[in-house]
Amino acid sequence: MSEIELQEVSHEFLTPDGPFPVLEKISLKVPEGAFTSVVGPSGCGKSTLTRLISGLIKPTQGSIKLGGREVTGPIPTVGMAFQNPVMLEWRSVVKNITLPLEIVAPKMPAKEQEDRARELLKLVSLEGYEENRPSELSGGMRQRVSLCRSLVHRPEVLILDEPFGALDAFTREELWQIMHSLRDEEQITCLLITHDLRESVFLSDEVIVLSDRPARNQYTTKIDLGSERTLDDLYTPQTTEQLAVLRHQIEVAQGRK
């Protein structure tokens, strides 16, 4: 586990028409073992944020630290899961999950790599699918495999870029609960990018609203639902009010209010 800290991070893309600012002085801090969600209007630069934190691109300005160390390039202690759960279709489910280990720990015996993958599959209730091909899985199952893959190398930081966005409502809620049980078992600091306010409230300790592009910090709120959460918690007056506030903030960000 390590904390994620962004200090006044700005980023702009260079286009033929000149610089194109995407993020403007974003600051945030996810304490060790905590779960933070980032919500904001479509196209406000949330995905750029994930690429910055994982070291895939460098910010134009500001500093990004993981566990107190400045991020200068890709770091193997980060796990990533995307909305599109790309699978290596020619490999079995287990072999898909071990992929990061083959890069990070190439010397680890294949048996041990696979045992670790099996352990994670159990956590996401996919026992019995170890040897299946990805094409035989449903969208929700693929996303669960994708989560396992992002966790297999025991990353300290997990970055989730709308992983549940393309799933139907029931599957999504099922995966939220799986996400909670994964957090209980694996020691990770999580940052979730999402469009779904209920999802952000159900999963996080803190929700950050970003403004429209260029994205700036607009609003931050703590979620006090404790660590034992059920879907019923989403329907209490207290949560409903919090969701209404977030809803309002998104509308402000979109410039509609």
Binding site: R51, S54, G55, L56, G73, P74, I75, P76, V78, M80, F82, N84, V86, L88, E89, W90, L99, P100, E102, I103, V104, R133, S135, R149, H153
Partner: protein, 256 residues
């Protein structure tokens, strides 16, 4: 029961179709009373094959190995070109019009040019034509396969610090295999056409094309038809070798 059903579908029915085809062919020739020098009939083919059996084996082998060599060259160069174009947009945009233009030239016109430049090197210029006619689909399919790789694939591995080579080896290459084999199926037929083109347009005493040509000169129609059948057979063999390799290396892409 299921097994025998499969056997009937895959073996017996095609065999019946071939038999019907031969009978109809024989019947058309017979009913019209066509002599051998107008149209050979299936019953003439057996004697023709037997009479020239040694030449069929020898020339068939010439055609076969030169096609395979040309195709091998295509795979090598086509894959390399495809890789370069797949990874670099600048090179892709630069090379594409050149390749398309080159591919548009009818290869029959290139045959005399190659034969003139490499005069006397029969095997080499035959292989070269087989290669020139067949590398294009391979280069295009590999470059498309690589350039359409979803960015998530790359990000997953790059965020772990994997090198470009690892990404290519673990993801890009296997991901491109179905497209590659699709193109190889087209290329194998093209390479085969290329070999025969050289053998027929610039006969040099080798290959089934040469046998066809001598049948033409001697007005030996049964021999010409026998060569056609032999070519069809060889083409089928080459095609199914590719299909077999595809099953092994890219069988995962097939879905029931």
């Amino acid at each position: 029961m299921e097994l025998s059903n499969n056997l009937v579908r895959k073996v017996v029915i095609p065999l019946i179709a071939i038999a019907i085809f031969l009978v109809v062919w024989e019947w058309i020739v017979w009913i019209n009373g066509w002599p051998n020098y107008k149209m050979a009939s299936p019953s003439d083919l057996g004697p023709a094959f037997w009479k020239y059996r040694v030449l069929f084996l020898e020339y068939g082998w010439d055609t076969f190995w030169r096609t395979v060599a040309g195709l091998g060259l295509s795979v090598l160069v086509g894959t390399m070109l495809g890789m370069i174009m797949g990874f670099s947009r600048v090179i892709r945009e630069g090379l594409y019009p050149l390749l398309v233009g080159f591919n548009a030239i009818p290869k029959a016109t290139v045959v005399p040019v190659i034969a003139l430049i490499l005069v006397g090197l029969d095997d080499l210029n035959t292989i070269l034509i087989a290669f020139l006619i067949s590398f294009f689909p391979i280069a295009v399919s590999v470059s498309i396969g690589l350039s359409t790789l979803e960015p998530e694939y790359r990000d997953i591995l790059r965020s772990l610090g994997a090198t470009r080579l690892t990404i290519f080896w673990k993801i890009a290459l296997p991901k491109t295999l179905p497209e590659f084999f699709g193109a190889l199926k087209v290329a194998v037929t093209l390479a085969f056409i290329g070999t025969n083109l050289m053998e027929i347009v610039e006969p040099h005493g080798k290959g089934l094309g040469h046998l066809f040509d001598s049948g033409k000169i001697n007005a030996d129609y049964p021999l010409m038809f026998a060569v056609l059948i032999a070519l069809a057979f060889l083409g089928i063999v080459l095609f199914y070798i590719v299909v077999f390799l595809e099953r092994i290396f890219a069988g995962w892409a097939e879905r029931d």
